[in-house]
């Protein structure tokens, strides 16, 4: 059964129970009192009956004596019978208070009957005087019976005096009980009803407040209703709804944020695409211009300048094409040579570039523009600051499963700190502005990503001992990693 309904039923049942209990008690009490009253009345009525019957007997006797008809005789017999019956009834009225008087009373009735009969006998024997005497005696006895009835009633009243007073007292007490009972029931019912209504309205009130809070947009308040009925169920559902709404809202917020970010990144992407397209156009224009310049220089007889410009153009093209693709060591070496040509044009005799290349292992793959930045670095730090220039050694040595590429210079060397910074891929603040934008750190990173191992690059350096960068390039590279790497960007 449902909670609220159960509560209502319980209240009704309690009220019904109280009413029934009172009704039963009062009915029982009433019945008891009624029975007692009946008993008392019965006693009085019986005594009165005796008196009446005795008087009737005497009257009948008188009638018969005056006119001895059959009718009168039968009437006399009837009244005598009645008298006998009354006598038997009277026996039951015996109690310790009236025992003696009652015996006398019954004997008086007997005497009356006997005297009546005697009178009749005398009458039948035509002894009128004796009959008359007997009649007057019967009349006297009848009077005595009446008197005795009164005496008995008197005795009855005395015997039952306490009893009657008890009845009166009790009826007064009953009134008091009624008042007390009324007060008690009123009190209890008020209490019950208060508790009952509170048990319904309090949860409803809480729920209402919770709803109000929710409608104001506060979804973080817990809805707690302590009750065991539908309201609590409602509150639980309400709470669950609140939690759900809360979750939904936070989800929507997250989504919105995500979308926002997506939007931003989309914008960035578009911008970068635009830029990349833009930047592709500029270099092409530059590349074409450089070629034009090279032809122009050749036509004007400046072959050297023409070659230089052609090298720059080739380098530029390589740069534009190969930055995001793996290339063979051969291509790298070729580009490196062109770069060195260009640098030689600048530094002339100051730059002494020695190569020792094992041609058999130029097939290995490596990310584009790996060697050029290292050499550029060597040029910037070892050649440029020195008046006499410097030397750069470039070696490719075949190993068991790796090809070792070494770039060595005889410059002032690098600080320990700086080497560590480069190898740990920490951002390095650039010294001087001569980088191409793709620094040594970038190279380290790309190599590690490309081969999936950390020991691909090593740097040896010391004060005034020059710097030696050694790349250990694996001959066989897992294709998966290659693909991954090649897919980037």
């Amino acid at each position: 059964m449902n909670g609220i309904q159960k509560k209502i039923w319980t209240l009704a049942a309690v009220v019904l129970f109280i009413m029934a209990a009172i009704w039963i008690a009062l009915t029982y009490y009433n019945q008891k009192t009624q029975d007692q009253y009946n008993d008392i009345l019965q006693r009085y009525l019986r005594m009165n009956e005796v008196t009446t019957a005795s008087q009737q007997t005497v009257t009948s006797l008188n009638n018969y004596l005056l006119s001895p008809s059959r009718d009168n005789l039968s009437q006399l017999e009837q009244s005598k019978e009645k008298l006998r019956k009354a006598r038997i009834d009277v026996i039951e009225l015996r109690n310790p208070g009236n025992e003696f008087a009652l015996t006398n009373y019954m004997n008086l009735i007997d005497s009356l009957v006997e005297t009546t009969e005697r009178s009749l006998t005398f009458q039948s024997e035509k002894e009128t005087e004796a009959s008359g005497n007997a009649f007057s005696e019967a009349d006297r006895i009848s009077k005595y019976i009446s008197e005795m009835s009164l005496t008995l009633l008197d005795a009855e009243l005395k015997t039952y005096d306490r009893f009657y007073r008890g009845i009166i007292e009790q009826s007064a007490e009953l009134k008091k009980l009624g008042i007390w009972l009324l007060l008690l029931i009123t009190f209890l019912l008020l209490l019950f009803t208060y508790a009952f209504s509170l048990s319904i309205t309090r949860p409803v009130l809480k729920l209402t407040q919770a709803a109000k809070e929710l409608s104001r947009g506060r979804f973080d308040l817990r809805i707690e209703v302590e009750s065991n009925d539908e309201i609590s169920f409602l509150a639980k559902m309400f709470d669950r709804m609140r939690i759900n709404i809360n979750n939904l809202i936070s989800e929507i917020q997250q989504k919105a944020q995500l979308e926002n970010e997506l939007q931003q990144s989309k914008l960035l992407l578009q911008e970068s695409q635009l830029r990349s397209l833009q930047s592709q156009i500029n270099p092409h224009f530059l590349f074409n211009t450089l070629n034009t310049l090279s032809k122009k220089a050749y036509l004007e007889g400046s072959e050297e300048t023409s070659d230089l410009l052609a090298s720059v153009a080739a380098l530029l093209r390589y740069n534009l094409k190969r930055l995001d693709r793996s290339v063979t060591l051969y291509d790298e070496v070729r580009v490196l040579r062109q770069y060195v040509e260009i640098q030689k044009a600048r530094f002339t005799e100051r730059l002494r570039f020695h190569t020792d290349i094992d041609e058999s292992c130029l097939y290995v793959q490596l990310p584009g523009l790996t060697l050029q930045p290292i050499v550029e670095n060597a040029v910037i730090y070892a050649i440029e600051p020195e008046e006499d220039g410097g030397e750069i050694w470039f070696r490719i040595v075949d190993g068991a499963d790796r090809v070792t590429v070494e770039i060595e210079d005889d410059g002032p060397g690098m600080a320990e700190e700086r080497i560590r910074q480069i190898l740990e891929e920490r951002p390095v603040e650039s010294e001087g502005g001569h980088t191409t934008g793709i620094g040594l750190g970038n190279v380290v990173r790309r190599l590690r990503l490309f081969y999936g191992c950390d020991d691909v690059i090593a740097i040896e350096s010391g004060r005034e001992r020059g710097t030696k960068v050694r790349l250990s390039i694996p001959k066989a590279r897992e294709s998966g990693k290659h693909d991954q790497a090649s897919d980037r960007g």
């Binding site: 009490y29 003696f100 015996t103 007997d110 006297r140 306490r162």
Partner: protein, 325 residues
């Protein structure tokens, strides 16, 4: 605040519960059961003691003695009677007793024709034994089984002797008797006369009066007028003593007179204590009651048959005013 309210409500509830339950207890407690009809069988004999003077100290004691004895022997007895010597009522009570077929009637003798008729004819017809108590009626007249009480003749003699010893052997004595001349009073007078006749110097004057106060007063007046030098009074009927003494007191001081009476009146003892009576014959009413019941049950059960027709006499003694003080 909330705690106080709860405490108050709780107290109110407890109080209401308490009062309601107390009240309910009072209403539903049924300690007033109807008297039950007696389970045990009835008493052996139903006796009735009938007197003419209910509620006098003397008859009260007779009744008490009778009730006590009845209780002892297991008979039930009721004391009936009339008040103030109402003879009609008294006789009616006897008739009722006879018609009620009691087992035995103990009755104060009444020396009248109606009484004798009732006892001799009606009681005998129903076979109900009669015992006279305190006041006798001769057996020949009443067919009583026996008499229980003082020997009135002896009582008269006792008074006469006391009179002589108080007054000396010369003087005038007034005997105030009852005009109804009941047997027991005659006995007393006989007793007195029998003693006094030995002393010729003691002159006795006998006068009769009824119980009525005016009659007593006028008779006393008359006597004192006729015999101004009277020295002693004997109220043979104890009921006349009070009125007589009052009348004497109106004329002169009561003390010089020698006044005697019997104790079967309700004011005899108080008069004796006041010193107005010089002597009172004290009888033994309780013994009378006791013996009469005892004899009646003995007769009914056949232990003592027949009873002594002369009667069973109880103790009498002279109470003197001098002793009482």
């Amino acid at each position: 605040m909330r705690k106080t309210v709860i405490l108050l409500l709780g107290l109110a509830g407890v109080a209401l519960f308490y009062f309601t339950f107390v009240s309910a207890g009072k209403v539903f407690r049924s300690d007033w059961q109807l008297p039950q009809s007696p389970g045990e069988k009835q008493a052996r004999y139903r006796l009735v003691l009938i007197t003419q003077e209910l509620e006098t100290p003397f008859w009260g004691k007779v009744g008490a003695g009778a009730l006590e004895e009845a209780e002892r022997v297991g008979a039930s007895i009721e004391v009936w009677g009339s008040y103030g010597k109402n003879r009609e009522d008294f006789l009616k009570k006897i008739e009722i007793a006879i018609d009620s077929k009691v087992d035995g009637i103990i009755v104060q003798g009444l020396d009248t024709e109606e009484f004798k008729q009732l006892t001799k004819v009606k009681a005998a017809f129903y076979g109900i034994p009669i015992v006279t108590v305190a006041n006798d009626v001769p057996m020949a007249d009443s067919l009583r089984r026996t008499y229980v009480g003082s020997n009135q003749y002896l009582a008269g003699q006792l008074i006469a002797r006391q009179l002589l010893s108080d007054m000396g052997s010369t003087g005038k004595v007034v005997l105030l008797g009852d005009s109804r001349r009941e047997y027991y009073q005659q006995q007393r007078i006989n007793g007195i006369y029998d003693v006094l006749k030995e002393y010729p110097n003691v002159l006795t004057e006998y006068a009769e009066t009824t119980d009525a106060r005016e009659q007593v007063i006028s008779a006393t007046q008359d006597l004192m007028n006729r015999l101004p030098d009277v020295q002693a009074f004997v109220a043979v009927n104890a009921n006349t003593a009070e009125a007589m003494i009052q009348e004497i007191g109106r004329r002169s001081r009561v003390e010089p007179y020698h006044i005697y009476s019997f104790d079967d009146s309700h004011d005899s003892m108080s008069l004796l204590k006041q010193g107005k009576l010089d002597g009172v014959i004290e009888q033994s009413p309780e013994t009378m009651g006791r013996i009469s019941v005892n004899l009646m049950t003995e007769w009914l059960s056949g232990e003592t048959v027949p009873l002594d027709s002369n009667g069973y006499f109880t103790e009498i003694r002279m109470l003197k005013a001098a002793d009482e003080r």
